[in-house]
Amino acid sequence: MTQLKLTGISKTFPGVRALDRVDLTILPGEIHALCGENGAGKSTLMNILVGNLQPDEGTIILNNAPVIFSKPQQAIEFRIAIVYQQLSLIDSLNVAENIFANQQPVNVWGLIGFNELYKKATSLLRQLDLDEINPRTLVSKLSPAQKQMVEIAKALSKKPSILILDEPTASLTEKETKTLFNILQNLKGQGTSIIYISHRLEEIFLLADRISILKDGKHQGTFLKQDITKDELIKRMVGREIKALKVEGHSRDEILLSVKNITGKRFHNVTFELRRGEILGLSGLVGAGRTEIARAVFGVDSIDSGEIILRGKTLKIKHSSDAISHGMAYVPEERKRLGLFSEMSIQDNIIAGKLSNAVSGRFYSSTKARTLAENSKTKLNIAAPGVHQRVVNLSGGNQQKVVLAKWLLTNPEVLIVDEPTHGIDVGAKFEIYEILNLLAEQGKGIIMISSDLPELLGICDRIVVIKMGEVKGELSRRDATEEKIMAMVSN
């Protein structure tokens, strides 16, 4: 039986106060749900709890004694285990080896006791009602849902007294979700405390004993389940303050891009239209298929059926270069992995979308590239000593502006931006909103994917809500509220 008490936890990242004096008490043997929008500080708080991050101030009290976790191993010693949203399994090893990673049973010779390993894994899987998974199966052969369950088994193998689950049902089917809930109830009966993070409010009301709400890094109160209604809960989560954006709609009548009934691996029968001068938001939970739709429109992933029509012409896109030549541009999520050439200079990054822009005579001219890059740097207000600076040394906001600058040089008609303000500071966020707004004013069409609802509501003319790969509905700027969107995605 463990009681956990967090008092006055604060954490500041450059430009963002992620947590502001948060108090939270987790009782022994309770299921405690943690709610809040993206960016409310839930993940930061959990990362502090498992020792991945250190708080700037505040104390963690475990069974009446203050503790400091300076590295993840220490949290494990105190039997705090976390199941991450992003899977931490190794595909090339089998299920049992993954569950007991770094804690394999050894025999008298000091070698790994494989019989023992498989026996322990089998009994753990049985306990989780996962008889259909053979502990000798390679993890790469499992379905996403099975992987998630193995991940949970891995956390349970540490016999935690506090178990943290971060959006565990995102990839689970209804039946698997039920199984998971039964397991969690059992664990609770054995005295394990569970911290459950989820956007799915129904699950929370089904499962949790108490509910805590975070907004803008601030604790908005803890309630017994029976003391709060769903509407009240949403009301306390949303309404995150965002400085008023002076955005007037620039949407014109001409339809620029029309996506008709496209179906691919992670989305079905998706239809929407984008007008000239419009900023169209794609809203939905992480994993709902928004990014996949964007990638399909840009030609990175193929579609099984449906049509993509740009200015009245049906496009046949095989590669991103075709999309670019038709006047499309795509600012991907995860800018470090997909958007940037980190070790290269600002200049080289900015020219990358269309190297031929820097051709003078017959040859590539780095002087011309520099002029273009310097113009972009001034126009987008990229803070750096010079365009020869490597982008790895820039802040997140400036890196994102470099990616935007790259695409603006290709002079696109349709710009798709995927989580453009993720992980960047407030000031830079507003500059990016202004850039997008200016582009809309010039008559370009913009599709914006974002998990940040106030941001979408602030700058989009229309919002299309995606849930599990399907269009769930469409809201105009006038009708859209956070409550409505939350209700659409979480039901």
Binding site: V300, A323, S342
Partner: protein, 316 residues
Amino acid sequence: MFQKIVEERIYSLLVLLLFVCIVASLVFPATFPTFENFSQILLNLSIDTIVAVGMMLLLISGAFDLSVGSVVAFAGCLTAFLLQTFGLPLPVAIGVGLLGSLFIGLVNGYLIAYKDINPMIQTLAMMGIVRGLALMLSGSGVQNLPYWFNAIGQSKLLGIQMPIWYMLFTVLVFTVLLNKTVLFRQYYYIGGNEKAADLSGIRVKKMKMIGFIISATLAGVAGILLSSRLGAALPTMGRGLELRVITAVILGGASLSGGYGKIPGALLGALFMGIVANIMVIARVSGYWQEIILGVILITTLGIDKALQKKYTGSN
């Protein structure tokens, strides 16, 4: 100024080379700083450097090719075989020899780029296959090659051996291509971040395949040149050349993870190794020690380089 030297391997290597040459000239004034000695050094490294140019291009794009040494033997043996056995005209025989090399590069490139086979495994397998083909074609070797064939590699222009001119020409052409053309500049982006390059509209697969084709074709050029210089085609030509070339290219500023390197670096890397080997011969260092010293030099150079970069650019 100093920072530029530290950041760009080409400059730091140039400074190091000058230093080594000055010291060697002071210690061995009679034998080292002579025209004959230098033209011998350059002649010896001309074949390696032509191959190294292709390897540099591949390393910039984040790949490498272990089969080049075998392709050197294959191209030489195929051309010699056609000349000797079928008596084909010289340009035709050379053309077929080059096409054969190009085809090997095409197979490597296609399987690596489009079928996702690991470059190391693919080119390692190809290294064995192509060496076998060279043996089949030439048996124990082809001698008594036609006069005009031998003239390609054995004549002189302005008192300098032809292979040196070919080498300088190759380096010059590819320096211009990589610095000055849109098509070839794409290799830096592919090596820098393959996924981002693909999303930026660069046809990564096609470019990767072309890279392997160029590398193999340049190895073919080197192979034909080598047999012409020797006046014979031997199936053992180019043994161990691939590792020597990779060493030279890494010394010249490439990185195994891709994105870095300049074509002149391939020449400077080879030159550095050639000069160090030459000095050791002049100093009568035993052959065993030469290999050891070259290995130590490679590790130390890269170690110092990393340390200096950390200090002066504040990043790793």
